[in-house]
Symmetry: C2
Subunit: 239 residues, 2 copies
């Protein structure tokens, strides 16, 4: 089937995620959000998306509370290339949620929480699973808010050495300028990389001249990668 | 007097602001922060800065609680050029504080809260003065944390039209790529610019393809301006 190409943000109304775009049905939570928070009424336009990049227009059905009607053709927002990934060291408080929220807004495709030696928090086993599930809900809410029809992948918590071995690049003060040749950047904890982490092989990218908090560093990496990919800035020289 | 050039972040220990670099004395609050939060002890190294870009190394005096000793030569972090400014529409909750915190970390020189027609919050008279005073404390705390010896200027709350008339550039989806020819960017409220604001004269800059929350837009503008200035990215074409 040929899909029309387009972006839900170019259509009126909010966006909601549904399980099946062919038979779209709103979750109770999304219906509540649309009606109570966004003040949508019967007949108002919206878009529905499947989280995988496909979406279509619809309206709240005046005839049946919570149902949808007047579906537009199936559309797709094609994946942007290269896929962008940002890993962040586990940090305390609500910072992981803020990181995931902003990275989702900025269009990062894969977000990877990892353990670093100087991570203040430890997520293991059940705690890690629960935290990752929570981060996936945060990504979904952020994607809905910014009309992003393709959800980012939120990976399970891994060890930093695994990511470096798989080709990810560590961010470090004084590293090379960011480039799309290294579209997977790892941002360390507030205390910096440990000596054994600093000894890991591979190139390093820098995030500018400033001393940044962990969450600011993750957002900075995301802004630079996304802006390089959409062509609004140019790289100085690649790694 | 000739000043040595350098950055406090390249010296060990935390940074604190003092009123007089020639006779540096810690405020009670800074002393508390150094001892209780950062666990600094007598003899530990730190740097002290005047908020105007000048700073020197010192140590906590083992002989007198809260006093400083062993002062290094007077140094300066010269101002970076061009000076960068970001204006943001008044937003609700703790977002103004988060915006000021991050823009300070990222090295923005002037931060300007402004009124827009679709600003949800209204700061007038005494409320505005109190809020701006609070934002200046936030900037000071953020600058201390990231070892930035030159405090950003936090302006009084103004009208957006005044800023545009003075040469600031409004950010809008679809605007031109960011460049250092427009080092003063205005980020609108969540609801976007009103028709009369959109009708204001002048060029527009874009912040990428994404739909961004107000605070994410302000941070994105700051990351791009700061990265262009420090040469870690290049502009595509200027306005």
């Amino acid at each position: 089937m040929t899909l029309a190409i387009g972006h839900p943000a170019d259509h009126p109304g909010p966006m909601a995620f549904v399980d099946d775009l062919h038979r779209p049905a709103l979750s109770d939570e999304d219906l509540h959000h649309l009606q109570r928070v966004l003040r949508q009424r019967a007949g108002d336009p919206l878009t529905v998306a499947d989280g995988g990049g496909q979406w279509r227009t619809a309206r709240l059905d005046p005839a049946a509370a919570g149902a949808l009607t007047e579906f537009g053709p199936m559309c797709e927002l094609p994946p942007a290339t290269p896929a962008l990934a940002v890993g962040f060291a586990l940090v305390k408080g609500d910072k992981p949620e803020l990181i995931v929220q902003k990275l989702t807004e900025l269009g990062i495709d894969r977000i990877v929480p990892f353990r670093a030696e100087r991570s203040v928090v430890r997520w293991d086993g059940a705690k890690a699973a629960k935290a990752v599930a929570r981060l996936r809900l945060v990504a979904r809410a952020a994607a809905r808010q910014c009309h992003r029809p393709r959800l980012p992948e939120i990976s399970e918590v891994v060890e930093v050495a695994e990511l470096v071995a798989a080709g990810a690049t560590m961010a470090e003060r004084g590293g090379a300028p960011m480039s799309l040749q290294v579209p997977f950047v790892l941002v360390g904890p507030e205390g910096g990389w440990s000596p054994s982490e600093s000894a890991l092989a591979g190139d390093r990218v820098g995030l500018g001249a400033h001393v940044l908090r962990a969450e600011t560093a993750a957002w900075t990496a995301a802004v630079l990668l996304a802006s390089l990919r959409d062509g609004s800035i140019a790289q100085v020289h690649g790694l």
